[in-house]
Symmetry: C2
Subunit: 418 residues, 2 copies
Amino acid sequence: MSIKTELTTIAKKAQEAYRDATAISSDTKNKVLEEMAEAIVVKKDSILKANRKDIAHARARGLSRAFIDRLTLSDKRIKEMSGSLLEIAALVDPVGEVIKAWRRPNGLWIHKVRQPIGVIAIIYESRPNVTSDCVGLCFKSGNSVILRGGSESLQSNLSIFAILRDVLKKHSIPQGLVNMVATADRRAVNTLLKLEDYIDLVMPRGGESLIDYVVKNSRIPVIKHYKGICHVYVDEWADLNMADKVCFNAKVQRPGVCNAMESMLVHKDVAARFLPGMIKKFKEAKVEIRGCKMTQRIAKGIKLATEKDYHSEYLDLILSVKVVDDLHEAIRHINFYGSHHSDSIITENYAHALEFLRRIDSGCVYVNASTRFTDGNQFGMGAEIGISTDKLHARGPMALEELTTYKYMVFGDGQIRT
Amino acid sequence: MSIKTELTTIAKKAQEAYRDATAISSDTKNKVLEEMAEAIVVKKDSILKANRKDIAHARARGLSRAFIDRLTLSDKRIKEMSGSLLEIAALVDPVGEVIKAWRRPNGLWIHKVRQPIGVIAIIYESRPNVTSDCVGLCFKSGNSVILRGGSESLQSNLSIFAILRDVLKKHSIPQGLVNMVATADRRAVNTLLKLEDYIDLVMPRGGESLIDYVVKNSRIPVIKHYKGICHVYVDEWADLNMADKVCFNAKVQRPGVCNAMESMLVHKDVAARFLPGMIKKFKEAKVEIRGCKMTQRIAKGIKLATEKDYHSEYLDLILSVKVVDDLHEAIRHINFYGSHHSDSIITENYAHALEFLRRIDSGCVYVNASTRFTDGNQFGMGAEIGISTDKLHARGPMALEELTTYKYMVFGDGQIRT
């Protein structure tokens, strides 16, 4: 069977499955999720065994330590995967929610009702824990999922997938709800991206080159979880003590994630007071500073920031710093260099706060808080499938609700149009 | 200047313009729209003059009568264009609406606030009235628009565009909010579709080949306004008198539009009672019937429907008819052959009504009403920019609200993540 035939068969069955799944109650879904959570822990030895094969293979190929770290499962990680499934079971089922309903003068009664999107393809890198998270979130929101993980984690993914699918089987739930592309053949992705008759949404989760490839080649709508070049702007009206704490938190608390601060902007009138202490604190925390000329004048021994720095998502203990003339320069800089993910202003000035909130063109815009809060859990939405840097359909943290669309259900009693 | 340079310049300015436009009040927007409505009527002679050039050119090229009809403007059509702008002025401005707001345990106050999408490119065929409708809807919802109309209507479009843009100028509103690609060069579309750094959304409005081209070549998210293969299913529990009226309305009232019925399904137990009278009525209204074998047995002199018929959007006085065994066959048929636009069941059976509403995977699903109601105005949303057959972002009629996205505005007082 060719790859195209194989993937088309999977996608067709996935489409049938989510349509049939409209009959599954929330109670059943939750029970399935709880059993999946249990099965993963009970059968962890088989998962770890498969994972060891992947790791050995990755070592033999000389892949980086960070890569192997992301690939490696442990008792603890498996417990976390299981815990996520339980969390998802505990969330409210979004399907069927009446978003709005109204009656028209002719008596038509229109309901806008939340529905599964349909078939969602998720293309991700070699992080086996993503497998169970995605299955859990898509299953709870009534969608079929087609998983295509990094080929280096294939054995681990297959093992997790088989365990989860067995639970569906036990409950006589259409197997087509949960699918995995089990070939390491890289052409599979390109083939998937052309199945627009069966797949409703593609989400690439991974680095820039993966996302670019998907956007260029997909005929299916894509929601991107792109980079986070997040800023904190310290206004001339900032409480500098608060600015110090928030900037430190935004950069240092977890530098490797997309909502960490990558660039700090400081108003020229407070730069001389604020920067020396702040930079000292950063240096003590092993943060490398790359600053503009003004920053270099204020704090000695700092590398000059280039254009490239302002465009960079370091995901590391590196920070670019720029002194700006005013709020407007800060806003222009953020809208130009940022990635429209999360940006914060520190200010006690009411008008500046509102201006920043209104004009920053990002998914999450903060006043006096760390950018690190951009997260489904922190927002109170429960587990998240990612953080959209797109504007269409969903922006910012994406959880269960964002994995749904709607349809209009219209109740009539013989209305015709005149 | 190359086309690419020219279009990039337009798109960059459009991006700056919508960001600057956050400061324009709803009052100002409405005033501008009212003046646009007036200007179009006052300057109608120049529009009609430009339109005559387009028509002469189209005639010389031997284009079809229907094509020339869509291209032709008249006093009446210009009045309608003007009326649409006034209607849009009267609608509520969606920008800034707080969709939800909540407080987190740490005191963060999160607002989900409606925002313009940004830069919207609209690629449409030679219908000059679309020009002013799109300008009005995009301007009111705070978006910048880049219009690329059919080359055969270029003179008419340029004339309308110049009048509308003059109104912006008079009010010192950024000109970049409203843009037109003024070249007949067909490569312009392909170039536009690659400007994903500046354009947020593309909406193709036109036939299948235009939409296919855009989907295949765009790196920018696309919302499709695709075909409507709409069904009415006459259940065995239908009030046949109601079924007769609704089916006739859905097919005949305006056959050339996307929400007209293209296929009628009838339960086998009522077919012999329902079809003869219904088909007679259709024939009197000059509707050509193409039926399944059972239909042919019940009513004489009917052409056999092919697979292709069930996949067809006729947009004409033609109807495919199929007798089905039960509700489940009807649902399977509609989900398989339909275009997920609008489908209706006629029934007095409660369980069948709910089953149909739940399982039909279409943007608008009706019980006991004509599919012809799928329309922004009929739904009470005001003027529409189209009817989305996609599931992402917007489904069904798209009006002002559907031309927006949201961002999270988060109010803190020094919160950091621990």
